[in-house]
Symmetry: C2
Subunit: 96 residues, 2 copies
């Protein structure tokens, strides 16, 4: 099982309708087969510069790859992530 997450900061002002729309529209990713336990999170540590997080689980690397290549994901990255996200860091976990 792989936990894929990304911490990020949006270009939109905090509390703006554009921010809310981005966070709502990201739920489109849950339509991709293989995405489990999708969570939208607020990053609250003052020890890093990111405001939000998305987290999801995949059964295995093949499911992760299918997500990565899925048109819904590719279009979300192209049309929403790239233009609206100021900075981000991806983190992937497997159990030790």
């Amino acid at each position: 099982m792989i936990v894929h997450s990304v911490i990020f900061t949006l270009k939109h002002p905090a509390g703006s309708s554009a921010e809310a729309k981005f966070l709502t529209d990201a739920l489109v990713l849950t339509q991709i087969h293989g995405v489990q336990h999708f969570e939208r999170l607020r990053q609250i540590s003052p020890k890093n510069e990111f405001d939000f997080g998305f987290s999801m689980q995949f059964a295995d690397a093949a499911a992760y790859q299918r997500y990565d290549e899925h048109p819904i994901h590719v279009e979300f990255v192209r049309d929403r992530w790239v233009p609206e996200v100021a900075k981000f860091l991806e983190i992937d976990y497997e159990a030790l």
Copy 2:
């Protein structure tokens, strides 16, 4: 509920006994009252420079603060984390 996590890289060589010992000894943190769902993780994304992660949950900010100030945590940070960890990033999540 707060999910507290830290991604990190050890000074020890990959696969070394010192690495294994650090990851085992970190389980001492689970003795601290309020620490829930403690996980030791391997960070596998090539898109960041960290090798491992620890993740745990706290019921609220007060439980998190008690952990942070607990002698077991303070001593682990002083005696193991600072001398053995090369770099790290802390991340704290709340549900949106």
